[in-house]
Assembly symmetry: C2
Homo-oligomer: 195 residues x 2
């Protein structure tokens, strides 16, 4: 898979999204958007991640109108509640207790745009994730590793958190932070990447 250098831009600071695109063999630059995550109007989780992904892609696209820009946003929801990124041990503990033994949803909104070509494509991909039953000791051990703190829902499926994830239904990479199959399929069909 080849793409001209600087042609493709990932508008995200997430090292997990960067790793996914690298795993897939893409050549790209990382130019994070500065969008205020609170700037989008409140709405359903689906609307929220879609709007935020679009805002991120379009912001960076303004400065690089000839490039194809990918923006994305991921949230974790369970029983109608959105779980953000825990800031304290207590908060992480509550989140992991909530997820224990149950199925939650991971929603990733992504937006791919190119200003010069007047192309914008946005979509939301949903994955269901079933956690095993966690003991208090397991939760405390996981919090002690420090991994929960900068992760939506308080866990990283591509990290130590893998021991908690029993089953998923849908896209795996979507849980990591970007639905790679869908993103690459779009870039391929638009001729952005060649094979």
């Amino acid at each position: 898979m080849s793409s001209p250098v600087h042609h493709l831009i990932l508008a995200s600071t997430s090292p997990r999204r960067r790793d996914l695109l690298m795993q897939a063999g893409l050549t790209f630059r990382v130019i994070p958007a500065t969008v205020d995550e609170n700037s989008v109007r409140p709405g359903s989780p689906e609307k929220h991640v879609r709007q935020l992904a679009r805002a991120k892609a379009e912001e960076v696209s303004e400065h690089y109108p000839e490039s194809w820009v990918i923006g994305a946003d991921t949230i974790v929801t369970i029983d109608g509640e959105v779980l953000g990124k825990p800031k304290t041990k207590a908060e992480a503990g509550r989140m992991l207790e909530t997820l224990s033994g149950k199925t939650h949803r991971v929603l990733t909104g992504y937006c791919i745009c190119c200003r010069k070509k007047k192309r914008t494509f946005c979509d939301v991909v949903e994955t269901e994730v079933l956690f095993k039953e966690l003991t208090k000791k397991e939760i405390n051990w996981y919090i002690g590793t420090g991994e929960p703190f900068d992760k939506a829902g308080g866990y990283a499926v591509q990290g130590l958190g893998i021991f908690m994830v029993k089953r998923i239904q849908g896209s795996y990479t979507n849980v990591v932070g970007l639905p790679v199959c869908e993103v690459i399929d779009y870039l391929y069909k638009e001729g952005v990447i060649e094979r």
Copy 2:
């Protein structure tokens, strides 16, 4: 997660299984079994992977009776046919054409045993994997990367092959080669690893 050095043994040459256990934070040794994969009696795919996993674990266990040994075997099946590891480009091409746009099953048998403690646990975990529709060009590009050749079914979900995997149903790590949640859960309940 801590475990005494040399206490836990992975009886597999697969770098993918090794990476999964490392990702999960386990301390272990790799001591591959020398079991002849054709030595187990022909049977259903489930029986086949279970028997082979058990043979691998028990072989290594004989030499390390005080250790906990993990053996595993993974196969890919579709429409009643088992897809092995392709040896030629033509064979890889046929496999990927077979998988294109369809759902296949990945079965991993695993066996964990400790001779001294007289404990043996074997199970088989199944995951369904849906591939996107692949073009001839995409298949040829993927074969050109060389990745299909040492992989059951002709692809690596944790490698470049990720672009083909649209959805999975079940354990993701099982597709990579070892159902990590189940393996760690067993080790934890047996007191082999602590938290």
